[in-house]
Assembly symmetry: C2
Homo-oligomer: 393 residues x 2
């Protein structure tokens, strides 16, 4: 953790409130900016959206955000008006503990859908978290851990833009991952000064090319939230400096998105799908997503089977106009399909290559334009079925 | 098979050509009308479509069709210009053998994508099939068997409209099933006299509410074809008689579509998703399809887990405008979600009910209109993963 670059002015706490039965398991996180921060958010496009998402939608963009309270183990989704009251109450408790107005506090939840939050546990948990706030890396690590559900590891990405500006990103997600504007929970905190409009635009653009380009099974969650906080003072970034901030934000988000796909439930392979030469980036993304969401494509990789017909046929139903002659397909360095015609290849060698690599790249090249996309997904394994058939998650 | 109602004037043959290595396995089918038939077709909307689909698209609608030649074990898809020549050649061989022009003959293929057809095997196979043509039920049964791939059983549905008119339907399909205008291979033959325009309309309408309402994993095939042949002479059906013919055609197609979902690869449950109260039928279908294509929903059923949040959240990302309060959800007779609020239910009883029933009904009721849809899918099991990871299909 020593190499983490932490944005200044943020405090962290991750605690065990009791929401999860296992006393070893952290389940409640609090992040606080010691000064008002500009905040932007991108949220699930699911019609069924969780109570905390509604509260955040009401409250961002804003220029005086003071923090985020997050619980894991319960999504507070499909919980009706009581769920909404509970989400507001979480922000009230956090605001009271740190000394700000409730509307300056944001809230996220992740976990099982359809159960009311046990507020008798949550409220003292928030107070305990407020008492534990600290700026050190181990507290950030506890926050990154407290927001996890079926994830097997924390997902943190930090970058330093220059001596004065750093970005601290963390996220969670391992299933119910299907991109639609934003997916999963992800947070990026910076000590840069950014105008609210710039921050909102950068949040949208970063989500579009990162969190929206990852899928585990294409199931868009009710709780997807990406929050971007900037607490810097002084003149806001502009021109090339703002552009560099934007690029760094995208790099942090891309690293978090990739970490989510790499930790996909039960996965044995991280699959990077690169589509290039499409008419538009959106077309490239449609093709990548059709492949990423296909159980036939995902089981082929799990089976180390270079059954390229599955990839080509998935591209064909993505809703993008192309002719077979326009399309070529590589798995790693192996050319399998060459401008509409099967390419000769050594199936045993390709299969062995798939087995030897946990991360593999599938590349589809069209010749229609400059549209491109890099999309991450995972394979579909026995363990995915086991995890999702045997447990309520 | 004694209860099968066969349309008059059709001859059938199913043979082993050698396309499949197992000598016990039928792999080539020929269906012939002894007189010119009106023909309509509905085909895959996949941009990557197989050579036989291109040939059929050129040739239907028409009023002088004489038959269909079908091979299984090789899809003749993604095979370039040679594949197209091979598909034409199949119709030439069949036409020569029965004495008609090549363009009167239609062609279908199903199986692995991306391999050239072994024409040295196919051509004598077609001649052998032509020599074996017969009108009896055992020949129809051999045709229904010869078109199968990973299916575990034949799919036949026949109906008698009156003393003079019967419909003979058969289909194949167990995976790579994702509805888009037509899915899988399906054939309905009738001895009614139907105007070409009426037949084309009925084919479209029947596919929309049956084959387009079934999904195994949502992967639209390159070879999907539904052909409807009517070889009756005399005045074409009109008015109420035509309407009855339409309804009977839909009933036959519905039975075939349901049989495909019931035989889905590795499935332990047939899931009927009934959506009602949507603004339009199309909205209802979008919601049903989002659930049917969700690995999280499908593994929940496999695990006998009444984890209704997965169904509600899938409905939420279907692209249909509704509020949570508009939605209620039943699994069988168990109410799980009641107008936006979790309903109290006995989870153990629901789980036991799922385990006890191979066919289960999931019902979503909205209160926005009269739109409805009945959609069939299957659960996602270890066996689905095994079948699609371990074998090239």
């Amino acid at each position: 953790m020593s190499e983490w670059h932490l944005a200044r002015g943020y405090l962290y706490a991750g605690v065990h409130s009791g929401l999860r039965p296992d006393p070893q398991r952290l389940d409640l996180a609090l992040v606080v900016s010691d000064r008002p921060a500009t905040a932007a958010g991108v949220f699930t496009q699911n019609r069924v959206c969780a109570a905390p998402v509604r509260v955040c939608r009401e409250r961002v963009p804003r220029t005086d955000a003071r923090g985020i309270v997050i619980c894991s183990g319960n999504a507070n989704a499909c919980t009706g008006s009581q769920g909404l009251r509970d989400a507001y109450r979480m922000t009230e408790c956090a605001a009271q503990a740190i000394g700000c107005r409730p509307e300056q506090m944001l809230v996220c939840s992740t976990g099982v859908i359809g159960r009311l939050l046990p507020m008798a546990i949550i409220e003292p948990g928030i107070a305990a978290a407020a008492a534990a706030l600290s700026a050190d890396v181990s507290s950030l690590e506890r926050v990154a851990r407290a927001i996890l559900t079926t994830d097997t590891c924390i997902k943190v990405s930090t970058r330093r833009l220059n001596d004065d500006i750093a970005l601290t990103g963390f996220a969670k997600g391992a299933a119910m991952i299907g991109p639609d504007l934003a997916t999963m929970l992800a947070f990026v905190l910076t000590d840069a000064a950014i105008l609210a409009d710039d921050l909102a635009r950068i949040a949208r653009e970063a989500a579009a090319s990162t969190f929206n380009c990852v899928s585990v099974e294409g199931h868009t969650s009710t709780n997807d939230t990406f929050l971007l906080l900037a607490n810097g003072s002084g003149p806001p970034l502009a021109g090339p400096a703002l552009q560099r901030f934007r690029e760094t934000t995208i790099a942090v988000c891309a690293e978090l998105a990739r970490a989510i796909a790499a930790d996909a439930e039960g996965a044995s392979h991280l699959i990077a799908i690169e589509v290039e030469g499409a008419q538009t980036d959106a077309d490239a993304q449609r093709i990548a997503k059709a492949i990423a969401d296909s159980a036939l494509c995902k089981t082929a990789i799990f089976g180390a089977d270079p059954n390229w017909g599955r990839f080509v046929s998935a591209a064909g139903y993505a809703g993008v106009d192309f002719a077979e002659d326009d399309l070529s397909l590589w798995l790693g360095d192996f050319l399998l399909y060459d401008q509409g015609t099967p390419a000769p290849f050594d199936a045993a060698a390709v299969s062995a290559w798939i087995k030897q690599h946990r991360e593999i790249t599938l590349r589809l090249c069209l010749r229609l334009g400059a549209g491109r996309c890099r999309f991450y997904t995972s394979d579909l394994t026995y363990d995915y079925v086991r995890l999702n058939a045997e447990y309520t998650t």
